[in-house]
């Protein structure tokens, strides 16, 4: 399914809110550079959850190797930005 008609545009604060909801952390703690694993205690299940939520929300497909690159909100933002520009 690649229904791009009603997917969201990339906005960092909206992204922060979305990721914070999935990870169950305060938006204030989810700074741009906070490390998902080291600072926020994200495990592999949660990382996979973030991935499927972002894929659905932004209508992109993320690979397993890309999942490993996404270690902070800033990196998630940069990856999505690149993906959306390439569409």
């Amino acid at each position: 399914m690649s229904d791009n008609a009603n997917t969201a545009v990339l906005d960092k604060e909206d992204l922060r809110e979305t990721v914070a909801e999935v990870l169950d952390v305060d938006e204030a703690k989810l700074t741009d550079e906070a490390h998902f694993v080291n600072d926020l205690g994200v495990d592999s299940l949660m990382a996979l959850e973030v991935m499927v939520v972002l894929e659905k929300k932004y209508g992109v497909k993320l690979g397993e190797s890309e999942l490993k690159e996404v270690t902070s909100l800033q990196k998630a933002h940069d990856l999505l930005d690149a993906k959306l520009k390439a569409l």
Partner: protein, 319 residues
């Protein structure tokens, strides 16, 4: 003991916090709870959805005065962190906050060994019942004829370790490996959850326990996850554990006599982790939407080793 709500567990959480303190409840997990013989035979584990049920009851016992009468509309997130066993004492700490015209209740349920689950509920004014009808199911109706076919109850029992009264899938109508599944669950007032209901209980009180609706759907997902590597024994091999359940919207109560159709779709599979989504329908109308369920296959030793007093060798050696 006559109770007013049908539910999978008998024990009722008691408020343990004083006035002005953040709400906190405690409840004993009695070994004679009726879920244990079937969850699982030979290795009783308090079902994750029953932890959610005790959080729900704790929430309803600590509703802020300004919220009035509320009902649970959605389980926004649930993360299962460690197993709960018979004899454990659950402590539930709750935090209420108003949010977008509804209420959010965040809870942490812990045993003596640490955190067992975190749960986030969305509650709305009871007057909104039956709530925004989700209406007829949208687009993704299963296309018949593509699957490997149906599974009978006997075949389901070869895949799932759950047994009476916790086996909550009656039949699988279609199974497309690694893609989707449609299963059927008939709700009847003969189920044990209705046993202690007070004589004066009306239809509302006969609503099928929300926790068991979720459990039933998750078991259907479990069939899709495990049908090609069936392991109806929780004491050996790879067992299926739920990591989290999120964005479950409970559209309306389900009553005895209804036949539920669970639709499960596999969203993503990565090594030993699978994510599912889907919904449950009754006569074509959506009664529950499931945003995502994360399931992981893990060595049985992770469960048996978590049992209090289990020798370390079990944790390391069983598989």
């Amino acid at each position: 003991m006559a109770v007013l709500d049908a539910g999978p567990v008998r024990a009722v959480p008691e408020i343990a916090s004083g006035p002005g303190e953040p709400p906190r409840t405690v409840v004993q997990v009695d070994a004679d709870e009726r879920v244990f013989p079937g969850h699982y035979p030979g290795f009783p584990i308090f079902p994750g959805v029953c932890v959610v049920e005790q959080v729900r009851r704790s929430a309803l016992a600590t509703v802020p005065a300004e919220a009035g009468k509320v009902i649970v509309r959605a389980v926004e997130s649930t993360r299962f962190l460690s197993p709960v066993f018979p004899g454990d004492r659950l402590t539930v700490e709750l935090k209420w906050s108003p949010r977008n015209g509804a209420w959010r209740c965040e809870a942490v349920a812990s045993t003596e060994r640490g955190r067992a689950a975190t749960v986030r509920l969305r509650l709305v004014a009871a007057a909104e019942e039956p709530g925004p009808a989700a209406g007829p199911a949208a687009g993704d109706a299963p296309r018949p004829g593509e699957g490997v076919g149906a599974l009978t109850i006997g075949e389901i029992k070869k895949v799932l370790p759950h047994r009476y009264p916790m086996l909550l899938v009656d039949r699988v109508d279609e199974l497309v490996p690694a893609e989707r599944l449609t299963a059927v669950k008939a709700v009847t007032c003969n189920e044990p959850w209705y046993q202690d209901l007070a004589e004066e209980a009306g239809d509302e009180e006969h609503a099928y326990p929300q926790a068991l609706l979720v459990e039933s759907w998750c078991q259907a997902a479990g069939v899709l996850a495990a049908w090609d590597r069936p392991n109806p024994d929780v004491l050996s091999g790879q067992v299926m554990l739920f990591g989290s359940i999120s964005d479950v919207v409970l559209a309306r109560p389900v009553l005895p006599g209804e036949v539920l159709e669970h639709r499960v779709r596999l969203v993503r599979a990565l090594s030993d982790t699978v994510i599912f989504e889907g919904e449950s329908l009754s006569a074509g109308e959506i009664v529950m939407e499931v945003g995502r369920v994360v399931m992981a296959m893990r060595p049985a030793g992770e469960l048996t080793g978590a049992l209090p007093g289990a020798p370390a060798a079990v944790a390391a050696g069983a598989h």
